[in-house]
C-alpha cells in the first residue's frame, strides 16, 4: 500500500476499504503514545487501552472528520478526550515525569525571562521542574504540552483543545506565568 499518501487521502480510502486504516494507526501510534505519556498516563497498558479506544472511535467517526482540519489535530483531540475520560473514570492523577522535555521548557522560560543569565546559572533539576509542572491546572499543562513538547501551532492547538485561538494564547501566557511562580524562588524571580 502506498505510504506516501496524505492522511486525508487515507481517510477517504479507509471509507472504501477498512484495511487502509492500518496506515493511520502505524503513522500515529508512536506519536500519540508519547503524547499520552506526556499527559501523565504512566502505565504502558493504560496507554495502549486508550490508544485502542481512540483509534476505534476515530474509525467509527471517520465521516465526521473535517478535511479543513489536519487529521493529526483531529486524532490528537480524540486521544486527549480519551485520556481525560480515563483520568476521570479511574479517579487517577496524571503521573508526569519530564525528561528531555524539561530542557525545552527551560529554554522557553529563559527566552521569556528578563534575566536569562540568572536562569542559566540556576540550572533546574528535572525533578524540580516536574514538581512545578504537576502543580499546574490541567488546562495549563495541556497547553504547554501541546505547544512545547508536541510542537503544535496555535491553530492546531485550537482544534485539539476545541477552544478559540485567542484562548490558546491566553492559556499559554498564563501557563508560563503559573509555571514560573511554581518554580523555586531564585528561578522565578
Amino acid at each position: 500500500m502506498p505510504t506516501e499518501m496524505t492522511d486525508e487521502e487515507i481517510v477517504r480510502r479507509t471509507l472504501l476499504d477498512k484495511e487502509t486504516f492500518v496506515l493511520l494507526i502505524e503513522r500515529y501510534e508512536a506519536k500519540l503514545g508519547r503524547y499520552l505519556e506526556r499527559l501523565g498516563v504512566g502505565i504502558p497498558e493504560d496507554r495502549e487501552d486508550i490508544l485502542q479506544n481512540a483509534f476505534i472511535k476515530a474509525y467509527k467517526n471517520l465521516n465526521s472528520f473535517d478535511p479543513t482540519l489536519a487529521f493529526s489535530s483531529w486524532m490528537y483531540r480524540i486521544v486527549h478526550n480519551e485520556a481525560m475520560s480515563f483520568f476521570r473514570s479511574k479517579h487517577a492523577r496524571p503521573q508526569i515525569i519530564l525528561n528531555e522535555e524539561s530542557e525545552i521548557l527551560i529554554t522557553e522560560l529563559q527566552d521569556d525571562s528578563a534575566d536569562a543569565s540568572l536562569l542559566a546559572e540556576e540550572r533546574l533539576s528535572r525533578k524540580e521542574l516536574t514538581r512545578a509542572f504537576v502543580t499546574l491546572p490541567q488546562s495549563y499543562r495541556d497547553a504547554l504540552t501541546l505547544r512545547f513538547f508536541e510542537d503544535r501551532s496555535y491553530a492546531e492547538m485550537s482544534d485539539i483543545l476545541q477552544v478559540p485561538v485567542g484562548t490558546v494564547s491566553t492559556l499559554l501566557y498564563r501557563a508560563k506565568r503559573a509555571l514560573r511562580s511554581a518554580l523555586p524562588k531564585t528561578f522565578s524571580s
Binding site: L15, K18, F21, V22, I25, E26, E29, A30, G33, P44, E45, R47, E48, L51, Q52, F55, I56, Y59, K60, N61, L62, N63, S64, D66, S158, Q162, V163, P164, V165, G166, T167
Partner: protein
C-alpha cells in the same frame, strides 16, 4: 525496543480485532451533517425566541409610564418592582444562553470566542426583537402569553389595575361623551362603570386630551354627592387628564383633536388657575409639569 513499542507493534492488529468482533462500522455522514444542522437550528431558534422576548420587553418598557409613577405608586422603587419586565428579561437571557450553547456545539463552534457568540446572539436577538416590536408583535405576545402564567400579568392589565382606583384618585377609561364647552364628559371605565367627570379644573393640555377622546387616565378626586337612587353613574372631579396610547401595537392611532372645541377653551390655557381641590392631590407639582410639557 521498549516493551511499550513492542505492544504498539500489535496495536493495529488489536484495533482490527475489536473492529471485527464489535462489528464497528463508520457512522454515516448524514448523521453528522444532521447533528450539525440541528445545533445550528436550535441555536437560531433560541435566538429567535430571545427576539420575541425582547420585543415583549420593549413593549412593556414603552408602555409603562415612568413619569406618572409618582401618581400610581408610593415611591419609584415599588413602581420599578411592579413595572420592570423581569420575566421577559429573564426569558431573553435564557434563550440567548441556549443559543450560545447550541452554536458552541456545532462543528466549528469552538472556534468562536464566548464574546463573539454571546455578542452575536445578543445583537441578533435585539435587532430582530426591535423589528418584531415595530410590527406590533411585542404587544401581541405580551397579551397572549401574559394571560397564561399564573405569576404574570401583561403590562397593560397591570397598568389598568393601578389606574382603576377611584378611591385613590385614579381613573382610566374610554371617553364616551364630551360636553360642548368641555366642562364635563362621560367616561366608561374598564370595569364598565360609567362616570360623570367634572372637568372644570382642567387646563389646555388636559382638554386637548379629552377632546381627542379615546382612552384616558385621570388624576383627581371622587365626589361624594347625594345622587338620586336612579343615578347610573358616579361623579369624579378631574384635575389632570393624560392620554393612554398603546405604543408598539397595531392600529392604535387615535383621531386628531377637534381643533375648534379646544380653541373655544383657550382662556383656560394658562395652567396657573386650578382651584385648591386639585392643589391638594399628590404629587401636584410633578403632574402639573408633566401636563404642561405633554406626554
Amino acid at each position: 525496543m521498549t516493551p511499550t513499542d513492542q505492544k504498539n507493534d500489535h496495536l493495529a492488529e488489536r484495533v482490527f480485532e475489536r473492529i471485527e468482533s464489535e462489528h464497528v462500522t463508520p457512522r454515516p455522514r448524514w448523521e453528522f451533517i444532521a447533528k450539525n444542522y440541528l445545533f445550528w437550528a436550535l441555536g437560531a431558534l433560541a435566538v429567535a425566541l430571545g427576539a420575541f422576548a425582547f420585543s415583549a420587553t420593549l413593549f412593556e418598557i414603552e408602555n409603562v409610564d415612568w413619569r406618572l409613577s409618582a401618581a400610581t405608586h408610593p415611591n419609584f422603587f415599588s413602581f420599578f418592582l411592579a413595572a420592570a419586565p423581569f420575566i421577559w428579561i429573564v426569558t431573553l437571557a435564557l434563550f440567548i444562553f441556549i443559543g450560545y450553547v447550541n452554536v458552541r456545539r456545532t462543528k466549528h463552534g469552538y472556534r468562536y470566542s464566548l464574546v463573539v457568540i454571546a455578542l452575536g446572539a445578543v445583537l441578533t436577538s435585539l435587532t430582530l426583537g426591535i423589528g418584531l416590536y415595530a410590527i406590533g408583535f411585542g404587544g401581541m405576545l405580551d397579551e397572549t402569553i401574559g394571560t397564561h402564567p399564573p405569576f404574570f400579568r401583561p403590562i397593560l392589565v397591570e397598568e389598568r389595575s393601578w389606574w382603576l382606583a377611584p378611591e385613590k384618585g385614579l381613573l382610566v377609561g374610554q371617553v364616551e361623551k364630551v360636553a360642548e364647552d368641555l366642562s364635563s364628559f362621560t367616561l366608561r371605565d374598564f370595569l364598565g362603570r360609567m362616570w360623570e367627570i367634572n372637568g372644570s379644573n382642567l387646563r389646555g393640555p388636559d382638554l386637548t386630551v379629552v377632546a381627542r377622546g379615546g382612552v384616558v387616565r385621570i388624576v383627581g378626586l371622587p365626589v361624594q354627592e347625594n345622587l338620586p337612587a336612579s343615578a347610573t353613574s358616579s361623579v369624579f372631579h378631574a384635575c389632570f387628564v393624560f392620554p393612554w396610547e398603546i405604543r408598539g401595537g397595531l392600529g392604535n392611532r387615535q383621531p386628531p383633536p377637534p381643533l375648534a372645541a379646544i380653541a373655544s377653551t383657550s382662556e383656560k390655557n394658562t395652567a396657573t388657575v386650578r382651584n385648591d381641590v386639585c392643589k391638594n392631590i399628590r404629587p401636584y407639582q410633578r403632574l402639573r409639569s408633566i401636563d404642561e410639557s405633554g406626554l
